[in-house]
Amino acid sequence: MLNDLLFRLRALFRRNAVETELGEELIFHFENEVEKYKRAGMSEDEARRRARMVFGGQEQVKEDCREARGTSFIEATLQDIRYAARQLAGHPTFAVVIILTLALSIGANSAIFSVIDSVLLKSLPYPQPERLVRIFLTNATYPKFALNPFDFRDYRARGKSFDGLAAITRDDLQLSGGSGAPLMLNGFRITSGYFRVLGLRPELGREFDEKAELAGNQQQVILSDRLWRAQFGAAKDIVGRKITLNDQPFTVVGVMPRGTEHPGNEYHSLVYGNDVDVWWPFTFEGNPAQRGSHYIEGFGRLKDGVTAEQAQSEMNAIMAQLGREYPNDAHWHVMVNPLYREVVGSSQRMLWVLLGAVGMVLLIACANAANLLLARASARQRELAVRLALGAQRSRLVRQLLTESLLIALVGGTLGLAMAVGGVKALVSFLPSDFPRAHEIHVSAPVFAFTFLISAATGILFGLIPAIQASRTDPRQGLHEGGRTATGSGRSSRLRNALVVSEVSLACVLLIGAGLMLRSLLNLLHLDPGFKQEHVLTASLSLPEAQYKTSVMTSQFFDELTTKLSSLPGVESAGAGTDLPWTGYDENTSLNVEGKQPAPHEEFHARYHSATPDYFRALGVPLLSGRFFTKADNKDAPTVLIINRVMAEKYWPHENAVGKRVTFEDKPTEKDWNTVVGVVGDVKDKPNSASAEPAFWWASLQVPYRNMSLAVRTASDQQLLVDAVRDEVKGLDPALAVANVQLMDEIVQGSVATPRFAFVLVGMFAGLAILLAAIGTYGVIAYSISQRTAEFGLRMAMGAQRSDVLRLVLMQAAKLVLTGTVLGIGLGLLLARVLKNLIYEVSPADPLTFSAVALMVIAIAVLACYVPARKAMQADPMVALRAE
């Protein structure tokens, strides 16, 4: 074995010496042979002639020896590569076109694959991430609902499927006394053992123990690495120090290491991987028998060997027990979903569709390359015929041509990889802000491997058929006809036509995909959101509990602020509410409607909010009946509600809801009733939600909240008002941070970011595809015209008109393009179904899109044929005939 290797290596690296020795050895043999014949009585000349005859082809023997030495494969490959490089350098236009188109398509594939690899394929950055699950409640109305804290505590105590359970809820804190102005921090309240469940450990200090869950113990905090560095100078002695959050002293108990990933949440959501600044203890407070409020989100680490399904059925058994103990818990089911699915679930389909789309682009590029190679192979027929005549084996020719196409593909792949590195950066900056794991996306080792693999596969795919085709050249004919193909082109032109047809049909499919996505995007953009987004400035405020102890203080603050903001020059109206449209707010309550009974096993539910009088005006939500809140709806007045249309229609169908009453108590007294005073238009959760959820608003003077969002409608440029709004807040309370200053336009744009992203990418791929298909069509028509120059000359000499020739050429092109289009439309009808969940209010078989694409493809293809066709038309019959 070792000997074998050494021998081969010597043969390879001391190639010249080995070759010389071989030559010398063969000459020695030859001379001996000559001597032998001379001894037998032949003359010198005769002996040499005889020896040569016996000897056979020297070169053949040498070649066989090389083969026997076991180096011929490598040597021949090197030779082939050198030859291929020379060939490409000799035809620069051909090389540039083919390499560039491949580079673009391979680059696009690598870029999309980088996203898929980082988002879908790489496991989540927690130890044994496959054991992590999210826990939700579910019923017919609310498919994915937050948990009740006391329910959660019971799951934790009774559940046996988990190594650990933890819950979190978003609760931001305001930092003061750090370096600089007051700062809003992304904060989560967590149960003890939260980090242990995720498999993470604090870098400094420890995580919260069970005692931290007791009421009154919440003034402890764990900092993120980022906050620790930015605000506390990475002080090693931070643990044990007191810092001021929400105007109260909090003890720092730990610091999490850099790269502590937020696992994502639904309720007041921060997307997966986003920055969390602080974690503080979740405390269980209130009456454990009241289980109607749901606002914490469950995480669990499954025991080894337990599946999410098994855990789910155990949890449902527990939930059934709880349902018997607490009426609030009846009719809920528990859903246990793997964390991975929760994180990537929504983007998964889109990413695979994108990969499919770029894959098609690559196929088209392959067909294109194959076509160019086929055309060139006909031009090279003479060269191949000579090599065959000189004794080259056909397999050797195939190998050499394949080396050429592999070289092309690998050069294209390398270039493509460089493009992908740049492309991924652009792609990431362009991703919707709520895209999961976006910050993890980069070109990594698997991407390199993927690029190499698809490049090699591409090279073989587009090279093999032309290579086999070319090696079939009949040496006699190739030589005889001086390189002009008359008969041999039948099969290869059929092949070329098939390639063009498939290019056109794939381009059709991509255009259809892009068209459907465009229509869906336009639908989303033209959707009535239920409010008027123009000229609205928004911001959020969070009043510290320590300072705003009573509800009166809170309601007074927002009353004063909105009044002051309304009087600013250029402001039309200013209001504040617990939330803004499309920001993922989802707080719900059960309620009783006067004079109505829910169906058995059901409860009346609605989403609750609170708003100042001008909130609806500022957002442009229309009043359908009744009135808006006024300053008279205060503590001393009867509690009033404004409800949305869905709620009015759900609970008072065919009735006027204004004046009707609801309560949140099971045994209400007279003062527990809330009267509906107004009905406003619906605002959907997301622009493409099927319908809005039933919702109502309290008057903020009656039911105040410390965390509110401002909405300020202006007459002119709302950007100019940013500072004015900050100043007004500062005037009322200098220690207050103004967070999330955003234009409503931006929120609206953000909500269509994903469909826009998908459309732009698929659109780009479709553009590339149709360009490639046009190049392919052009190439085939131009080639076939060049082959038929003589025929056209003859026809014209016989009296055919130029228009006849043009018609002939266009007919040929039309046949290909029409076949391709018909196939493409058929394929489109089949494939568009995968887009079903990605498009909005467009049928996957949308006739408008399909016919527009068909027309466009035909128009572009005809244009691509026009240039060569015109050339054919202008052919001078005499010149054409002489070209024979």
Binding site: E21, H29, N32, Q60, V61, C65, E67, A68
Partner: protein, 109 residues
């Protein structure tokens, strides 16, 4: 003229190894020796001889060194290695078995 027989597959290696078991030889001498000993029935074409020598060298059964021939010319001499000797024994043995078996079939039917 004696009738010549084409060498069956695999026997060439055996013949070369057997010839070299008598002592180092250069390529031409090997082919001459085989022809003589087989009374001109077997003749090794040099087109197959040299590739076979290179192959055997690669396998480590023979090794080559340059020496001087009878007529005082530089020539490449091949000689059997230890593993080549073993290989020769093994191949001789299996050849005997094969021919005996073939002969038995030919005679008994």
């Amino acid at each position: 003229m004696t009738e010549r027989i084409d060498l069956p597959q695999g026997t060439l290696d055996l013949l070369i190894l057997r010839t070299l078991s008598l002592g180092p030889q250069h390529g031409w001498a090997i082919s001459e020796r085989v022809q003589q000993v087989s009374s001109d029935v077997l003749r090794i074409q040099q087109g197959s001889l040299y590739p076979a020598l290179h192959r055997l060298e690669r396998r480590g059964w023979i090794k080559a060194k340059w020496g001087t021939s009878e007529n005082n010319r530089r020539a490449k001499y091949y000689e059997l290695t230890r593993s080549g000797r073993k290989q020769l024994e093994a191949e001789t043995e299996s050849w005997r078995k094969l021919t005996a078996a073939v002969a038995q079939i030919l005679e008994s039917m």
